[in-house]
């Protein structure tokens, strides 16, 4: 961090009358964590970081050393737009380090930094634009079904719709927080909304996804509405995904673009896609990390089930969107399985690792699957060599456990903790007796 950057932050704290600076970071499960410091401590924090006890943070805990340092990334310093002038607050994302200043391997942001750095050494910068879906519900009551706010359909335009005005306010807030929005609309399902963000480099985007989830929930809560990124909150209604539009740049050039190819895809793009497909099953536990995630990945709801790619087939895992107006920089791959309940830092890390492996090893891209895969039977799929994504969290964890690619991308600390934590989650789920079982078996057996 240069001195001017530090001055900028300190001066802004003073000039804008900031009362609290919130230091933001992320636990291994992708929950936003925060502690606040007074402006007087800010200079100290910028210089040396702030130490805190990491043992209470999910995935940070270690047997011996539990104290870690939060080091503010001054470039992410922003005044929070929704607090009134009397008690102005700001936030800054932090990297977590050990007390000796070296990166802490339990910090997801450091994991993404490390993966981006290794791509960077090969000349690539990784860009991502997510389409994030979520639902608005009435405030939930424990054990009750979620209550819909509206019954609107796709692109529904009703001016009285409270959800639309919430979405508008959310977008305004995002834009004042350096998160430009590309599109936003009411999704297919009642109460479901989608906001598409403009692409940025992957680290800034992971920060943006964290901020996004916070802003969406915060603004909804101000209006006594509950926003949720749960992947599949309603049975028989499509779930919430986080499709990721991916591209690699070398300098100003889109490394995925080639004018000579009928699909405008460069060999780099094809190798990257082949890497994604080959390692898709291994990274799914990270991109879809809840028990509930796998209830979204079922046929019939435009969510991917099969490991395949196509130019314009929304049942596939990877789609190659057709860029508007021959815009080179818009050539990209859309990876469709992730859901918005993932940890974006870790999800982006394993996706990049899978794609980069494809580039390094020059993986051959399988043939395009342009038919509707949902209509094919298993025999047909087997003949085409099309496998399925893991069907449950348990299955995904088993595949992940055997993956040296994921272990390397996440680092041993997070890899082991994640598997342990998620195995526990699966065990809890397995012991739960559901409504489905009671309805089906209580009387019939």
């Amino acid at each position: 961090m240069n001195e001017q950057q530090r001055d900028y932050v300190l001066r802004t704290v003073e000039e804008r009358g900031i009362r609290l600076v919130r230091l933001w970071f992320t636990d291994v499960l992708g929950n936003l964590k925060s502690f606040a410091i007074s402006p007087a401590e800010m200079e100290n924090a910028l210089n040396d970081g702030m130490s805190f006890d990491g043992s209470s943070i999910d995935g940070y805990s270690r047997v011996q050393e539990s104290d870690v340092l939060a080091i503010p990334d001054a470039n992410t310093f922003e005044v929070l737009p929704w607090v009134d002038a009397k008690g102005a607050e700001a936030r800054v994302f932090c990297d977590i380090a050990r007390l000796d200043g070296t990166p802490f391997d339990g910090d997801p942001r450091q994991v993404l930094r490390r993966n981006l750095e290794s791509a960077r050494k090969k000349g690539y910068s990784f860009y991502i634009a997510p389409d994030i879906e979520y639902f608005y519900f009435a405030p939930p009551v424990a054990g009750q079904q979620p209550v819909l706010l509206d019954e609107g359909g796709f692109f529904d335009l009703t001016s009285t719709d409270i959800a639309s005005s919430l979405r508008k306010e959310t977008i305004r807030t995002l834009e004042t927080m350096s998160i430009p929005v590309e599109y936003s609309f009411h999704e297919d399902a009642p109460s479901q909304h989608e906001i598409d963000l403009r692409h940025t480099d992957a680290l800034a985007m992971a920060d943006s996804v964290m901020t996004f989830r916070f802003v969406v929930k915060e603004i909804a809560a101000l209006h006594n509405v509950h926003a949720t990124f749960m992947p599949k909150p309603l049975e028989n209604i499509q779930g919430s995904g986080m499709h990721l539009h991916l591209s690699l740049f070398t300098g100003e050039d889109n490394a995925f673009h080639s004018a000579d190819d009928p699909y405008n895809l460069s060999p780099t793009a094809k190798h990257f896609m082949a890497g994604l497909l080959r390692h898709a099953a291994e990274i799914t536990a990270v991109t879809n990390q809840t028990v509930n995630s796998y209830k979204r990945l079922v046929p019939g709801f435009e969510a991917p089930v099969h490991i395949s790619w196509a130019r314009n087939n929304r049942s596939g895992l990877v789609r190659v969107p057709i860029p508007k107006r021959q815009n080179e920089s818009a050539t990209r791959l859309e990876y469709r399985s992730p859901d918005p309940a993932c940890n974006p830092y870790l999800a982006f890390s394993v996706i990049l690792a899978a794609g980069m492996r494809g580039i390094e090893e020059q993986y051959e891209l399988p043939t395009e699957a342009d038919a509707n895969l949902f209509e094919m039977d298993d025999e047909m799929l087997a003949k085409l060599g099309i496998a399925q994504l893991p069907q449950s969290l348990s299955e995904a964890l088993t595949v992940m456990e055997g993956s040296s690619l994921v272990a390397e991308a996440l680092g041993d600390h997070i890899f082991e903790w994640f598997l342990r934590n998620k195995r526990d989650e699966w065990r809890d789920y397995k012991t739960h007796i559901s409504q489905f079982e009671l309805g089906r078996y209580l009387r019939s057996t």
Partner: protein, 240 residues
């Protein structure tokens, strides 16, 4: 861009470097500059000035045209006709060359007759740099409803405070200080981010988008995209 804010004296110029022509500098000119506390470096041509330019750019130039007016004016021209023109150029001419100043008003900001009186040259230089010394003028950059306070790092549009990240602020500052000029992504990357930045030229596009979003829909065209070239802040100098 060095915008220091010490109170008066030439000390605030301590980090800034002046380009001086000809090379080597005449002894009386060199002595005057040294005694007045300026840091300077003699250059023989525009090419040399470009090559030995400090990373934050030349703070100004003193160009003595009396012996070799052709090379002197050529240097002035090259200092001005760059992506980021050098401001605060003082030319020195003798009595018979006064007519040369006509039609060249765009190439210099101040002049001094040779043979020069050291106290006069010092006074003229002090006047030329006073804005930077007192911080009265240069500390505010204004364009339309946009105001950037370079001292406090604060910015506003139409009286409303803008909340910018550091890089957004630096980019907007650079653009607003050079309105009407078109900059390529590479130039913006090197001048605003510095050469060591590795994020690629897309970073510039990302930050332009963020700035437009923060300026609001109705003012987003303050920063215009010039197709296949780069970006321009404000109106083109050539548009009516």
């Amino acid at each position: 861009m060095s915008q220091s804010s010490t109170n008066g004296g030439n000390r605030s110029m301590a980090d800034s470097l002046l380009a001086v022509f000809p090379s080597p500098a005449p002894i009386d000119l060199a002595r005057t500059l040294d005694l007045a506390g300026y840091r300077w470096k003699a250059v023989a041509s525009g090419a040399e000035a470009a090559k030995s330019e400090p990373t934050d750019g030349w703070a100004g130039a003193v160009v003595m045209c009396d012996d070799d007016p052709e090379s002197g004016w050529a240097l002035c021209r090259s200092l001005r006709k760059r992506d980021v023109p050098v401001q605060r150029v003082l030319v020195m001419v003798n009595g018979t060359q006064l007519a040369d100043l006509e039609m060249r008003d765009n190439l210099f900001d101040e002049f001094c007759l040779t043979p020069f009186h050291p106290r006069e040259l010092e006074a003229r230089l002090r006047h030329l740099f006073w804005t930077q010394l007192t911080g009265k003028h240069e500390m505010l950059v204004e364009y339309g409803g946009l105001v950037l306070n370079l001292e406090t790092y604060q910015s506003s549009f139409g009286g409303q405070a803008l909340d910018l990240t550091y890089m957004e602020y630096e980019l907007l500052k650079f653009l607003a200080q050079n309105p009407g000029k078109v900059f390529s992504r590479e130039i913006l990357l090197s001048r605003v981010w510095g050469y060591e930045y590795f994020g690629g030229a897309r970073t510039v596009d990302v930050h332009i988008r963020r700035l437009r979003a923060k300026l609001g829909e109705e003012h987003a065209n303050l920063i215009q995209t010039v197709r296949s070239v780069g970006y321009r802040f404000g109106q083109s100098k050539w548009s009516v």
